[in-house]
Amino acid sequence: MINPRFTQVIAVLLLALATLFTLAILVFIIGFILSKGLAHVDIDFILSNPEDMGRAGGIYPTIIGTLILSTLSILIAAPFGIGTAVFLTEYTRESRVTRIIRFGADCLAGIPSIIFGLFGFIFFVTTLGMSWSILSGSLTLAFMILPTIIRTSEEAIKSVPYAYRDVSFSLGATLWQTVRKVVLPNALPGILTGIMLSLGRSIGETAVVIFTAGSSLRTPQSLFDSIRTMSVHFYILAREGLSNEKAYATATVLIISILAINLISYWLMIRFISKRSG
């Protein structure tokens, strides 16, 4: 028989090794990109227009493009996603229909983004005649992230203790008042996590954006203009061998901004929780 203390030591070692390995890869990737790109990032790179297809100049329009496209996709997807989650958890009883909706959402979550891109291209860009535009892009991205928002919101809502609902009903609240005043505020941290994950996905997305929002390097004037996001810019710079320096610099800005968004939203969430519970 194997000594339990010995297996305990082995288990700890293996688990620690797995953690270390994961962290090392993460640090290596980020470190690699930062080391190649950080030197080429300055205020001028961020605030000026690209020249010569991106071989020179900055990435200002792509930053604006990323910002608008991802924000808009979240603004479209979040109300629908959270609404669906609330409906499924609070307003319907567990039945075949809710199971089918859930299964559908799970299937949608597993579909490769290029399929969404193709759908967006055929439906929004050509059939509805919206052409390559911010609107087509953000609508398609919204479809892509919808399942994630639904499922994470659902889990967050389910984790709110049932006793809170009992208390709320016993104090004369309607179901909607209970949802609005008790369930949603308490589920908010979980819901925000889902939104952050989705935001990350839509910022990093390339296939959908190229298919539906195009890759124009001009600063957009309206929602019907084509744009290029940082991810797409990076992809084009690298693939067409335009400029390695500029590609890494773009990736650096991309990584830092995602990091910043996560930190800021984490901070906002902590503030919200401590403020609400007094």
Binding site: R93, P161, A163, Y164, D166, V167, S168, F169, S170, L171, G172, A173, T174, Q177, K181, V182, N186, R276, S277, G278
Partner: protein, 253 residues
């Protein structure tokens, strides 16, 4: 003196996913009295209580038959809105469940749902309810701090105050002292005795001595049936049923 009947329960039967959890319950609950409901766990006390404010409505596989009349009106009648009903019938649960918000916001939860927004009016309600629940002196300087930071006994009195803030007519309490120490229990019991002047109180308790101390009338539930119901003095001195005597003397099972 003739009692005014607040609740009239007529042949109430409740079925829960196939099992018969309340069997032909009939009783009158007097106004401005404390009714103590005793009985072992699983005897149907809590289901009975949650039927009175229709909190069971949300359950999936429940079927309720028979009549529950509040001031002569059937609470299950089609025109009766359960939300309006619950504004008249407050409830305190077994475990103290403050909502994750400040003491002040916990108290005004009910009143603000009813559309009261005037700051002065809300302040008055907070002071009055906390005083009625004998919690005011302990929290008056920290109304804006989290209710989660109160002790268990204080939290349960906060829950009582939160219920009082709706100015209900009836207060249902489901083993409100089960998680509390003897001193907190005494405070709650003292508050209940004061409150019965203005409210009808139904107190479910696992502690038979508590019923003996505070209840005017006592009902004994066993195996989903109402075994005996009468003035507390009678139940505890000359019970009419051998099972009641066995239970209150602790000789049960």
């Amino acid at each position: 003196m003739e009692d005014t009947v607040k609740f009239k329960i007529e042949n109430l039967n409740v079925y829960w996913s196939g099992s018969h959890v309340l069997k032909s319950i009939s009783m009158d609950i007097g106004a401005n009295k404390i009714l103590g409901i005793i009985g072992p766990s699983g005897s149907g006390k809590t289901v009975f209580l949650r039927t009175l404010n229709r909190l069971n409505d949300m359950e999936l596989q429940i079927r309720i038959e028979g009549g529950v009349l509040l001031d002569g009106k059937d609470i299950f009648a089609p025109g009766m809105d359960p939300v309006m009903l619950r504004k008249k019938i407050g409830m305190v649960f077994a475990l103290p469940i403050p909502l994750p918000a400040s003491i002040y916001n916990n108290i005004i939860y009910g009143p603000s749902l009813s559309g009261i927004t005037n700051k002065n009016r809300l302040d008055e309600i907070v002071v009055k309810s906390l005083k009625s629940a004998f919690l005011w002196d302990e929290v008056k300087d920290r109304l804006k701090t989290s209710a989660m930071r109160l002790s268990g006994g204080q939290q349960q009195r906060l829950c009582l105050a939160r219920t009082l803030a709706m100015e209900p007519e009836v207060i249902l309490l489901d083993e409100p002292c089960s998680g509390l120490d003897p001193i907190s229990t005494t405070q709650i019991e003292y508050a209940l005795k004061e409150l019965k002047k203005n409210y009808t109180i139904v107190l479910v308790t696992n502690n038979t001595k508590q019923a003996a101390r505070v209840a005017d009338n006592t009902a004994f539930f066993l195996m989903n049936e109402l075994i005996e119901y009468g003035p507390t003095g009678t139940i505890f001195t000359v019970p009419g049923d051998i099972r009641t005597m066995d239970y209150i003397t602790g000789r049960f099972g």
